[in-house]
């Protein structure tokens, strides 16, 4: 069964600190995505990737970087975390003519 695993599941970070959210997929999907979910906004696309070595900006990329070192792994990096980045982050993977599979989410709190 398709699997997308996010780590950590919960994270508390300090303002100005660096945060890395990790995502691993065992689906051999080319496409991977990072979304954030906030009340009243639904899911908003931060960064995405079409394959190892590629990253693309989504709709709200400011304050975030992404890294896709391999087919399986896609990280979201907050170099200088701010309280406005407190949210639930979802990673997803998908391929051509397949559905998109989501991880269970990472709850990030920036204090």
């Amino acid at each position: 069964e398709a699997a997308v695993t996010q780590s950590p599941r919960n994270k508390v970070a300090v303002t100005g600190g660096k945060v890395t959210l990790s995502c691993n997929q065992t689906n051999n999907h080319n496409n991977m995505y990072w979304y954030r979910q906030d009340t009243g906004h639904g899911l908003r696309l931060i960064h995405y990737s079409y394959g190892a070595g590629s990253t693309e900006k989504g709709d709200i990329p400011d304050g975030y970087k992404a890294s896709r070192p391999s087919q399986e792994n896609f990280s979201l990096i907050l170099e200088l975390a701010t309280p406005s980045q407190t949210s639930v982050y979802f990673c997803a993977s998908g391929g051509i003519n397949t559905e998109v599979f989501f991880g269970k989410g990472t709850r990030l709190t920036v204090v």
């Binding site: 639904g42 696309l45 079409y50 051509i96």
Partner: protein, 113 residues
């Protein structure tokens, strides 16, 4: 600009009643359309998808959705809801079907006994 709109942020229905959750899309062409469900503190799970053909598509757990090109809509329906259907439902669209998904803001469904 491409967008997906779910006009109802919250819906409450009684168990056993019928359900319709609304979704409208705005795209230059006809996108691929999806409904996802999110149970509390879980990731999103696919309920159903529409690519082409019969405008009524069947999904899991008795859900179905109807595509209307004239109305730019993709409403989700269920004939008789169960308390376990309480969740947040997201409508989504993609022009390719596998990239760059746009999500609505979600509709929180509460089923009361």
């Amino acid at each position: 600009a491409q967008s997906v709109t779910q006009p109802d942020a919250r819906v409450t229905v009684s168990e056993g009643a019928s359900l319709q959750l609304r979704c409208k899309y705005s795209y230059s062409g006809t996108p691929y359309l999806f409904w996802y469900v999110q149970y509390q503190r879980q990731g999103l799970q696919l309920l159903l998808k529409y690519y082409s053909g019969d405008p009524v598509v069947q999904g899991v757990n008795g859900f179905e959705a109807e595509f209307s090109k004239s109305d730019s809509s993709f409403h989700l329906r269920k004939a008789s809801v169960h308390w376990s259907d309480s969740a947040v439902y997201f409508c989504a669209a993609s022009i390719t079907g596998y990239q760059n998904f746009y999500f609505g803001k979600g509709t929180s469904l509460t089923v009361i006994p």
